[in-house]
Every structure is written in structure tokens, then in C-alpha cells.
């Protein structure tokens, strides 16, 4: 029998305790004397608004940051975790909010990385693959060990992340917003697996902004607000509004409940796609003759499992991807061959991959906010930037969109994930676009900000904006959209008025079971 997994020297974690953890960054106290206690066989949820300090606390636990004060105890013993290597050796695993995979390597290579090989210096990828297969079967994590990471869907990449931790014998697994990026079906699979791990006695820390998930999954929940621990509570008996109140410190009113849909066909056609076809990044056909119309003052929801052409469609409209057939008209004007013109003609785009598209992470918050219109008045004075005008406008946007940042000149990359998203929202919405393409606009965004973003979309619609809302969150689509298009395998499977759309019907269409093109 081989010693598999090769480095499983860790013993069971029966208790983990963080005591008085404090972490300061320039201008912010990310964690302020936080106490947290988690035990084996429990799913412990960590809740908090964007920037509350959840990821920072977990990065300290994983050895990526060193705390300014406080201590970590495992099984009652104080431990120092000065690097991820220490964390792994102590049986801690972490699925990061932004995946930590090497795209140019295979699944097996990513998993073997950093481990000793059973053949000394020579790689033993065949053995790694065999063990990965075994673990994958045990936990229902289907993935091909020989595939390259760049070939995988986001859901598959997450499975690789989990396998990486399992392979290293993680006894305590931190999952930082694992459900933000995967499909509803994959969420169910993930939860089943987490419950299985809990039954094995492992400790799990689960971060999510979706309160429904926290209630469904966790045994206890700890709430962070502005870097401080509000408290740890048994999940049973807490309602969504209880949790929301704890997080925000006041009542949160969701925008979705009281949304009024305007009568259909209200405005003129703002955006019209006729038989659009386009290729994916890998040069395979991604869109097959998509026909859509979005009217002024209307939200058209685009539902679908990710990877069915949503991203390609959004990029075609935004002028970032060439079409291979079809026409695009904006307010009746044919702009098919003129991508640059599309952006200038008033199309705004909120991309779903905010870390890659739509932002320059090295630039400051202010520079990112004016990226689109820094050459126009009042930001430009001839060839120069009018610093005071930029500052004023940015402070105003930071306030209006409740962006949590020490100031406008902080580099964007040091903001929390949800706040980076808000910066893009602020920039794109403040341009008063005639057409807005919003892809997963509330992914990874806390409930307060989600409500605020929904409110902003509704207001834009009221002012006559045409909105294409691409989302995997059916609740979001059903709450906001006037009409709902379902995309499957690069085709529009159906377009339904919101009155006829039910989650079941949409679910079937998304799965490609039924097709009812109208």
C-alpha cells in the first residue's frame, strides 16, 4: 500500500481558536481583536458585508498574512502559522475567493505542485492522477486529471481547488465564497460534499453573502462588521432578516419585493440583435444566430447556466468580440462593423470577470473610476487631468455607491472583492448609458450592496435605459426582469414575459430539456 495521500501527517483538528486577531492595512483595520472558535464536525459560516474582513481573517489562518496581534490555537495548543506551508502541515486547506490555479498546468500537475514525489525528483503524475480519481469518486468531484486548467469551466476549477485541499489531507477547510461563481446544480453538489466532510469530523468554514445558503448549510454562524466580531450564534432559529440585521447593524430592505414592472413594450427598441453568431476564445462556435431586442425602459433578463454563450454575447454587444454573422442595431442604427462606435454610442458593460476585464488592478480607485471618460470634461483640461475635478467626482461616487476604501487614491487591488465590483458599477452607471449590459452584477456583493445595485438598475430602467441583465441567479432575474430570455448552447431557447416565467420552467429551459423559441 502506498502512503497516499503522500503528506497526510496531519492529525484531526478537534478545535480551532483565533484569539484577539488584529490586522491593520494602510488606512484600515481589517480585523480588530477578532475571536473565533470552530470545532471538528461543524460547518461554521462567516458572514459580513464587503470589506468586513472575512478574507483577511482567513488569509491569516492560512499563513498568507501575519497578524499584528493575537494568537491561533489548534486543539488547545498555540501555533504559529508563518506560511501556507505551515498551514498545510497543520491540516488547514483553503479555497480562495479568487482561485489559485496555474492555468498552463494540468489538473494533476496543479494538485501535485509543492508535494514530494514518490519517485524522488521525478514526477509521479500517474500516481497522483490515480489518487485524484479515487478522491473524486469518493466525494463526487468529477474532473479529468489530464485536462489543462484553462480548458475547465469555473465549476470544474473549483472542484480542482477542493481536490487540492483534500489531497493534502485538510482537516479544516476554509471556503471563501465558493458559491459565488458556480451554477445552482453545482451548489447542490458542493453542499452534499461539505455535509459528507462534516460527517467525517472535519471542520469547515464557509463564507457566503447568500443568507439562504448560510441557513441551509451551517451549524453556527459568526458575523463580522467593520473588522469586529459581532458574535457567534447557532444558526438554527435565525432568520435571514436576523442575520442581515446583525451584518449591517440596521434593517435591510430588499429592492426586489416591491419592484413594479412597467407595462410591456413601453419604449422603442434600443438594442437589436439579428442572427448573431460568434466564436469563443478557443475558436469554437459559441453563438448560433442569436436574435434579441431590448427596449428602452426595459430589463431583459438572460438566464442560463454559465458557459452557454453569455459571456460571448455580452462581449459582442460591448464591442469586444467580433461577430461572424448577423447585425447589431443600436436605436435603429446598424453598428455591426463598428465595435468602437458601440461603446461611444452609449453602451455600458459590466463584465463578469472583474479581476481580469474592466479594471486595472494596479491603478487607484479614482483612476479606475474615470478610466472611461478621463479624456472628457470636466476631468480633462486639454491634455492634462484636472485633479480636483477627478477627486470631487470620485469622492461623490465612492459615497453614492458605498465603496469601502481608505480613499480615492488607494490601489484597486487592495480593496475587498465586493468593493472592486462596486467600483465598476459606479463607473458604468454614472455614464447614464442608453444600453447597459450587466453580467452577474451582484456576484460576490453583500446583501446591502445587492439591494443598492438592484435599486440602481431599476432607476436606470425608469429613466429609459435598456438593460440586458445576465445572471445565473434566478431569484435576481425573476425579481427584476420584464422579459426573460433563456440561453442554452449558444441559442436562445425561449423568451418569456415575466408573468409566465417560473423557476421550474426556466430550469428546464436552461438545462436544454425544452425549447420554445417564440
Amino acid at each position: 500500500m502506498q502512503a497516499f495521500p503522500p503528506q497526510r501527517t496531519t492529525s484531526t483538528i478537534t478545535s480551532l481558536e483565533l484569539r484577539g486577531i488584529t490586522k491593520r492595512f494602510p488606512g484600515v483595520i481589517a480585523n480588530d481583536k477578532v475571536n473565533l472558535s470552530v470545532h471538528g464536525g461543524e460547518i461554521h459560516a462567516l458572514l459580513g458585508e464587503n470589506g468586513a474582513g472575512k478574507s483577511t481573517l482567513m488569509k491569516i489562518l492560512y499563513g498568507l498574512y501575519q497578524p499584528d496581534a493575537g494568537e491561533v490555537r489548534i486543539n488547545e495548543q498555540p501555533v504559529t502559522i508563518s506560511s501556507p506551508q505551515d498551514a498545510i502541515a497543520r491540516g488547514i486547506g483553503m479555497i480562495h475567493q479568487h482561485f489559485m490555479l496555474v492555468p498552463s498546468l494540468t489538473v494533476a500537475e496543479n494538485i501535485a505542485l509543492g508535494l514530494r514525489s514518490s519517485r524522488g525528483l521525478r514526477l509521479d503524475l500517474d500516481r497522483v492522477s490515480a489518487e485524484v480519481q479515487r478522491l473524486a469518486e469518493l466525494y463526487g468531484l468529477r474532473v479529468d486529471p489530464k485536462a489543462y486548467i484553462w480548458q475547465l469551466s469555473v465549476g470544474e476549477q473549483q472542484r480542482v481547488e477542493i481536490l487540492k485541499a483534500l489531497y493534502r489531507g485538510a482537516e479544516l477547510l476554509v471556503l471563501d465564497e465558493p458559491t459565488a461563481v458556480i451554477t445552482p446544480q453545482e451548489v447542490d453538489d458542493l453542499f452534499a460534499m461539505l455535509r459528507q466532510m462534516r460527517a467525517e469530523g472535519r471542520a469547515l468554514i464557509f463564507i457566503s453573502h447568500k443568507l439562504r445558503e448560510v441557513i441551509a448549510l451551517s451549524d453556527r454562524v459568526s458575523v463580522l462588521r467593520d473588522g469586529r466580531l459581532v458574535g457567534t450564534f447557532a444558526t438554527a432559529g435565525k432568520s435571514r432578516s436576523d442575520l442581515a440585521r446583525l451584518m449591517v447593524g440596521r434593517e435591510v430592505i430588499a429592492a426586489r419585493a416591491d419592484t413594479k414592472h412597467p407595462s410591456e413594450g413601453a419604449g422603442s427598441i434600443a438594442l437589436e440583435l439579428q442572427d448573431i453568431s460568434a466564436q469563443s476564445d478557443r475558436n469554437t462556435p459559441a453563438l448560433h444566430g442569436v436574435t434579441l431586442q431590448v427596449r428602452a425602459g426595459e430589463i431583459l433578463g438572460l438566464a442560463g447556466v454559465s458557459g452557454n454563450g453569455q459571456r460571448e454575447l455580452a462581449e459582442v454587444i460591448a464591442g469586444l468580440r467580433p461577430t461572424s454573422a448577423g447585425t447589431i442595431k443600436l436605436a435603429g442604427k446598424d453598428l455591426t462593423g463598428n465595435p468602437a462606435e458601440r461603446a461611444n454610442a452609449g453602451i455600458s458593460y459590466i463584465p463578469e470577470e472583474r479581476m481580469r476585464d474592466g479594471t486595472v488592478l494596479e491603478f487607484s480607485v479614482a483612476e479606475n473610476l474615470i478610466l472611461r471618460n478621463h479624456t472628457e470634461a470636466p476631468f480633462a483640461r486639454g491634455p492634462l487631468l484636472n485633479r480636483s475635478a477627478v477627486d470631487r467626482a470620485c469622492r461623490d461616487l465612492i459615497q453614492r455607491f458605498q465603496i469601502k476604501t481608505p480613499g480615492p487614491h488607494t490601489p484597486l487591488k487592495s480593496l475587498s472583492g465586493g468593493n472592486i465590483q462596486k467600483v465598476i458599477m459606479a463607473r458604468e452607471l454614472s455614464r447614464e448609458p442608453a444600453v447597459l449590459v450587466a453580467a452577474q452584477p451582484t456576484r460576490g456583493v453583500d446583501i446591502g450592496a445587492t439591494a443598492a445595485i438592484h435599486q440602481l438598475l431599476i432607476e436606470l430602467r425608469r429613466r429609459g435605459g435598456a438593460i440586458l441583465l445576465i445572471s445565473e441567479d434566478l431569484d435576481e432575474i425573476l425579481a427584476l426582469a420584464d422579459r426573460i430570455a433563456v440561453i442554452h448552447a449558444g441559442n436562445i431557447a425561449a423568451i418569456l414575459p415575466h408573468t409566465e416565467a417560473t423557476p421550474e420552467r426556466l430550469g428546464l429551459l436552461m438545462a436544454g430539456v425544452a425549447s420554445e423559441v417564440t
Partner: protein, 310 residues
């Protein structure tokens, strides 16, 4: 008669192609290792010059070829370490620190040469080593298998480096660190240590490239004797798509054109010699321009590492 002339010429051209390729192989393969870990070492030229001088000096003073090789490796590793300190630890702009390394190597090797040896002299370097059997293959045998030891070593390095990068745990670490150091770090891969190691090895190999000139190919030392080989070696890493075999093919092509160019001058075909000398370089520029595939480029090339910052 005509036939015979062509074949000997062919043998001659191929022979000098192999010989010319040798310093490039050492330098480019070392640079490949360092770039695959994400560090651009633009100072190869300076390291080659120092290696050439160190080896030459030891051979002149002691007569030991092995001593010369050891000296080159030692000096090159030391300069690699310095490069790593500046680029990896101090996170200097890698293009700039590389130019600094070049100037340091150029200046220091010239200075030391003037202070110690002073005048041009030659040494008895590595002798030609005809491989029994293989070297008697007609036409190709004498072209490929009648070379000095360092030439064989340089070519043997190609599969060795390929094996290192693709089949070993070290290679996996190197590739991961060059592509996504943050991810590698979260798995406990020592990013900084690996970059130090690759840049140091790269420096040692560059110095060996220099030594292959001064104690093997030409057996003399002259100020600035590399004349740009180190910079072309860096370009050839891009041309070869960061893969050892690709890099070797690029080097062979470049060396073949260089060999042809020399032959053209010898037979005196009516091309101005200045133009002929430029030929390989023009070819390199054209080839680089026509090879737009950036696939294989380490994603984190030239990007310093900072723990925790995504």
C-alpha cells in the same frame, strides 16, 4: 568534381553551424530556466563576458581546463545570485537591472583583463574530440561529431533541461512559479528560493557560454569578445517559445545563417561584407516579428512576487 566540392562545403558549413551554436545553447538554455520561473535576466551578455574571462584567466595561470570551467561556473553563479538579489528580493525593474548587469560584466571583465593579463594571448583550450565510429559517417559525421567537449555538453543540455522542466518536481515548481506565483505560494512552494535558484543556474550557464568561447572555440580573450551573443540568446528564448527544443531549433537556424554568411564572405560572392554580417540579425528580427504566438510565455514573466496580494 563539382559534386565533391559541394559536399565538403556542406560539411564545413554544418560544422561551423554546430560550433557557432554552442555559446548560444549554454546562454539560452540558462535563460530559459530563469524565464520559466518568471525572471527576465537581460544581463546574460555581462555574465558571459565574466565567464569567458574567469575561465581564460584560470587556464592561463594554471593550465587546468577543469579549473577554468569551475571558475566560470562559480563566477556566473555569483553574478546570478547578484541578479536575483536585485530582481527578486529588491523587486527592481528587470529590464533595467539586466542592463546594469551587462554593463557590470562588460566593465569588470575588461578591467580585470587589463590589470592581470593585459595583452592578447592564446591558450591551449579544449581539443577536438572525434567520436569514434560516428565521426566517420560520410558528410554528417565530421560535421556533427568532430568537436570539442563543451560542444557536446551544450547539446546534451537540451534534453536535460527539457527533462528538468517537464518531468521533475523542480521543473513543475519552476513552471508554476513563472505562471502564477501566488497560487504556487498557497501550496507551500518556496517562490523566492526557486527564483533565486533559477537565476543563479542561469548565470552559471551564461558564464559557461562565455567560457565555451574563450577556452574552447577561439582560445583567446578580448574585451567585449561576445559582441551581442548574450542579447541574441535572450531573443532566441522568445523565438523558441520557452521550450528547450524550440530554443535549440532557433539557435541552429540562426547559426546556420551565420555560417552561410561567413562562407559567402570566404568565397567572395559579391555581397558587401557589412551586409552579410547583418544577415543573421535581420533574420532574427524578422523571425521574432513573424512569430506572434505568445503561447508559452510565462504569465508572470518580469512580475515580482508579493505574498498575499492577488
Amino acid at each position: 568534381m563539382e559534386q565533391l566540392f559541394t559536399l565538403t562545403t556542406l560539411t564545413g558549413i554544418l560544422h561551423s553551424t554546430i560550433r557557432l551554436a554552442t555559446p548560444y545553447l549554454f546562454a539560452s538554455l540558462g535563460e530559459t530556466i530563469s524565464q520559466r520561473s518568471g525572471v527576465l535576466n537581460l544581463g546574460v551578455e555581462g555574465q558571459m563576458l565574466m565567464g569567458a574571462f574567469a575561465a581564460f584567466f584560470v587556464v592561463v595561470t594554471t593550465g587546468s581546463l577543469l579549473g577554468g570551467v569551475v571558475a566560470a561556473i562559480f563566477v556566473g553563479a555569483l553574478l546570478g545570485l547578484l541578479m536575483a538579489l536585485v530582481s527578486v528580493s529588491f523587486r527592481a525593474e528587470q529590464g533595467i537591472s539586466g542592463i546594469g548587469m551587462y554593463l557590470l560584466g562588460l566593465g569588470l571583465s575588461s578591467l580585470l583583463f587589463r590589470l592581470t593579463l593585459g595583452s592578447v594571448q592564446s591558450v591551449r583550450g579544449f581539443a577536438e574530440l572525434a567520436l569514434p565510429g560516428l565521426s566517420s559517417i560520410p558528410v554528417l559525421g565530421p560535421a556533427l561529431f568532430k568537436h570539442s567537449l563543451l560542444v557536446y555538453v551544450a547539446f546534451a543540455l537540451v534534453p536535460m533541461v527539457a527533462y528538468l522542466l517537464n518531468r521533475t518536481t523542480w521543473g513543475l515548481n519552476i513552471r508554476a512559479v513563472g505562471d502564477n506565483p501566488q497560487a504556487a505560494d498557497t501550496l507551500g512552494v518556496p517562490v523566492i528560493a526557486i527564483r533565486y535558484a533559477t537565476v543563479t543556474v542561469g548565470g552559471a550557464m551564461a558564464a559557461m557560454g562565455g567560457a565555451s568561447l574563450s577556452i574552447s572555440a577561439v582560445n583567446i580573450f578580448q574585451e567585449n569578445m561576445t559582441g551581442g551573443i548574450g542579447f541574441i540568446a535572450v531573443a532566441l528564448v522568445y523565438f523558441g517559445g520557452w521550450r528547450p527544443v524550440g530554443v535549440m531549433l532557433g539557435i541552429l537556424l540562426f547559426s546556420l545563417v551565420s555560417a552561410l554568411q561567413i562562407w559567402l564572405q570566404l568565397v567572395g560572392i559579391g555581397i558587401p561584407s557589412d551586409l552579410a554580417v547583418m544577415l543573421p540579425y535581420i533574420l532574427t528580427i524578422i523571425a521574432l516579428a513573424l512569430a506572434p504566438r505568445r503561447t508559452g510565455q510565462p504569465a508572470a514573466l518580469t512580475r515580482p512576487f508579493n505574498r498575499g496580494m492577488a
